[in-house]
Amino acid sequence: MWQFFHKLGSPKWFFGISTRFMPWLLMSGILLLMAGVVWGLAFAPKDYLQGNSYRIIFIHVPTAFMAQSVYIMMASAALVTLVWRMKLADVFVKAVTPVGLVLTFLALFTGAVWGKPTWGTWWIWDARLTSMLILLFLYGGVIALDRAINDEKSAARAVAVLVLVGVVNIPIIKYSVEWWNTLHQPATFKLTEKPSMPAEMWVPLLLSVLGLYLIFGWLACIRMQTEILSREQRTRWVKEFVMKGKV
């Protein structure tokens, strides 16, 4: 276990193993996402209440779900950075923050466009929407803070602290639809209950969530590799990789 933990902290080991996994992550991710999206757009039955506008759910839920889980992953990595000073954890935080920002923006955008035909408004200062907007600002804040500090180690610690403080927003997003009387509908998936939708609706939704998760995995790997290469360019293994193409 501890040996695995140490290995995981080695940028060189990560570089080698991620290179092997990446094509699989990308291919299976695109396949699942496309299957979910095509099924959802063309074959799933229309909603009896919302009509066809509900088809936005097949990208809205995956992006919103990923926006939050990326933040939770970042917070776990931030804790590892602070406690064990593991280099790779900080590399992860730095690499995935822009991805989280884009996913949060997409969740807000698709939500707003869905809101117009369904609620009659693009935006409302409702608890779920506002807490998601705060998540967007948190991602932006992490990027800004990281760029503002030149020293790599101080930047890593400052960013880790900010990410951990911001994690308080995650349960607020999750439970906002239960704590407050909001316009937003309650969660589609719950771990403890069967989905209230028919299978022809939730299966494609699950496929697109899984697909986006795998694509995120690929994005995290490739962006971490970039960060590792630029940080470790003085080491011999990076030189060998760049000149000979092997790790």
Binding site: A42, G51, N52, S53, R55, T63, Q225
Partner: protein, 79 residues
């Protein structure tokens, strides 16, 4: 298929513009993000390569036997 015709699929009973706008923005942003990530990785590899080549050049120049420094004027063509 949940629609009778391709036209019905595109219009989605009037919800078409909303649905298609969402999907278009989603795919454009995801593709930009993915292509940008690949490009920045390639650019980093390229900048490392240039740096190593420059270092290699410098070290061969440094290793070449040189005579002690002199201040004699050397005529070098400027064009």
């Amino acid at each position: 298929m949940a629609f009778d015709s391709f036209a019905a699929f595109v219009s989605m009973e009037g919800h078409g513009p909303y649905v298609w706008a969402c999907y278009a923005v989603f795919f454009v942003l995801m593709i930009v993000l993915m292509a940008g990530s690949v490009r920045s990785r390639d650019a980093t590899i390229e900048s490392c390569r240039r740096r190593y080549e420059l270092q290699a050049e410098k070290s061969t120049v440094a290793a070449a036997p040189t005579t002690s420094a002199s201040f004699a004027r050397v005529n070098v063509s400027q064009d």
